[in-house]
């Protein structure tokens, strides 16, 4: 669906996107993660054929973003991070305009608008003026506009930024629904939990460079090479740390606020042997748990050391 090869964009001395290479297959939900100013928006705008790359190529649905921008635009639904809405315009008129702008035939538009409004739960607001909608509703309307021409790929730049928790959950549910409808989604965010449940693939970008790309579990495995354990002992923490470090199935022990973070590399079923050994050596273990592989900690580990 998306094939990006060596994509680069510079603004003066700043390289906003530096030699990006990745691909997204049809049906994927690809999460583009990075702090503000990492180059997410620049990349998405290049993919939407809105920005000319300095180097490299990108094809979407087989269309080259430079040579065939029309084909790219027809197959992409683009939702910018910041957007305004037209004043003095009703919800249905707003959608009608964008449908016409994507050359949806006029006979098909009324039914299409009805369907899209139903999907985004805005049917009751059909005749409301756009600027009278709440922020969350505007965001849903923008999403409705993004899918009005039934694109195969959705490029969503921070679709839930600035929303209250309820609106954020609504957007996430909507995106999950779109995923289940078979749409390919590329979504960017600096808020990690937002992407956790949604994406099957992620790309981590920082200072224009793609640090890592792949399936969430693969990246985790690759990064840690094992399971992360969180062990809390009542006292003698340093001793316990040394004890663990001496074991061959444990790698990389760290002591943080009375808790020991260790990576277990042995047989997953024999994990309890570590606990047994600790207890037998007289350490008073109060907690022994496997740490959850959430995106946030993955991201923190990935960017640690690479960027100051």
């Amino acid at each position: 669906m998306i094939h990006v090869q060596g994509l680069t964009k510079r603004y003066g001395n700043i390289t906003a996107a530096n030699d990006l290479t990745f691909s997204v297959e049809a049906g994927d939900a690809f999460g583009f993660i990075g702090p503000n100013g990492a180059g997410k928006t620049t990349t998405i705008r290049m993919l939407a054929a809105l920005l000319k790359p300095d180097e490299g190529t990108a094809t979407i649905n087989g269309y080259d973003v430079l040579q065939e921008p029309e084909g790219v635009r027809a197959s992409v639904g683009y939702m910018p991070d910041f957007f305004g809405v037209y004043e003095d315009m009703k919800v249905w008129e707003y959608l009608d305009f964008f449908a016409a702008a994507y050359r949806v035939a006029w006979r098909r538009r009324p039914a299409l608008i009805r369907d899209v409004l139903e999907l985004t739960d805005l049917s009751a607001k059909r005749d409301t003026y756009v600027d009278a909608l709440s922020r969350g509703m505007k965001q849903r309307l923008c999403l409705a506009k993004t899918i009005i021409h039934d694109p195969d790929l959705l490029l969503l730049d921070e679709p839930a930024s600035g929303l209250d928790p309820r609106a954020r959950i609504e957007i996430r549910e909507l995106l999950q629904q779109l995923c289940s409808m078979g749409k390919t989604i590329l979504i960017s965010s600096h808020i990690l939990p937002e992407l956790g449940d949604l994406c099957n693939k992620i790309g981590i970008i920082e200072q224009g460079k793609l640090l890592m790309v792949g399936a969430v579990e693969d990246i985790w495995q690759q990064l840690e090479g094992g399971t992360q354990l969180v062990i809390v002992v009542h006292d003698r923490q340093q001793e316990a740390s040394d004890f663990l470090a001496a074991r061959p199935d444990i790698a990389d022990v760290e002591l943080e606020e009375n808790a020991l973070h260790a990576v277990y590399r042995g047989d997953p079923d024999a994990q309890s042997a570590v606990l047994t050994a600790l207890v037998e050596s007289g350490f008073r273990v109060t907690s022994f748990a496997e740490r959850e592989t959430d995106l946030e900690s993955l991201y923190m580990r990935l960017t640690r050391g690479i960027v100051s």
Binding site: A49, L51, R73, F83, E87, D88, A101, Y102, W106
Partner: protein, 379 residues
Amino acid sequence: MGRMKGHSIVKAGLIEDTLNRRFHFNPCVAVHELRMRMRDGRPFSVLFFYALLAILSVLITLAVVTFSYSGFYDPMTSEVGLGRITFTALAYAQMILMLFVLPAYGAGAITMEHEKRTIEMLRATLLSPSDVVTGKSLVVLAFGALLLVTSVPVAAWSMMLGGISPTDVLLTYSYLFVIATWASAIGMFMSNLFTKSITAIVASYVVLGFWCAGIPAAVSIVGMTFSQSSSTSAAGFVSFAFLVLVVGIVSGWLLFLIHRRIWSAIFKRAGRNLATLVSALAAVLLVWLIFRGLMSPLLGIADLNRPESMLLLIPYGGLGLIIYPSGAEAMFQSSSAALTADQIQLCAWAFSAGIFLLMALLLWLRSIALYESRSRTRT
């Protein structure tokens, strides 16, 4: 009622299909713009004040002319009808109002998209630069036409006062519409050049002010400086040179753009420079032919080598020549050929309206090119 509504939707849809298929023009921007701009009370209050000022211009003129103690106007003896005097006031009032309203209206068209942060989504659609720029220009023009139509009853009133023919009214209104096109094209161009509405509006007024006052002043100063030194017709020559320069540049540029489109299609990518070269040569050749073929006979019958020829390039000057062809008579009448006042009126109308229309056309093409070049390079 519902049936009627359904019927009109089908009609509108069929028009949309035709425009899309036959003319490759997607009218949705125009429809969208009309919905937004015509919905609230603002355009209608502008219309109201426009009509009010139009009526006032006629009333005040009537009052001044008929009640002044100096008695400079006597309907029994005057050669100029009362209707012509009030109509002149009406025409000038309209021109001034339009030159104020329309550039501002046009200058906001694209910059508003920047300010409301809607431009990105607009660019991401399948709308071509021409769909956007033309659609928005048409709505500004439609508003200009609406303003003009509002004043038609007032013009009818002037006609009843006598001294003005339907042809005069028709020529004047069509000329005013051309000026409206030109003024909105300046606004539209600035709207594409800048990203802030206020900058675009100020720039449009500066250009208009320069064109209507700055250039005539500069040409007269240059002319006077020269006449003091030697030749008496230096002012005439400078005006005429300026006339030729404007006509040459505008028509040459337009011809170049049209040619480049044709030749680029023929030479494709490989010969872009070649296409540019061929188009430039073709444009120069055509402009030369125009001057040889059209201007020479014109020079034969009309004496353009006069300071007043400058008036043809200034909106109010052209309007004056159309409403008072007797003034134009003195200007264009050369010794060799005799022209009637009607012929001269038509000549002044054709020349002045033609050059303003060409300028508007050029600005429109440049606006589309600007929109296009900015669509894919903005940060």
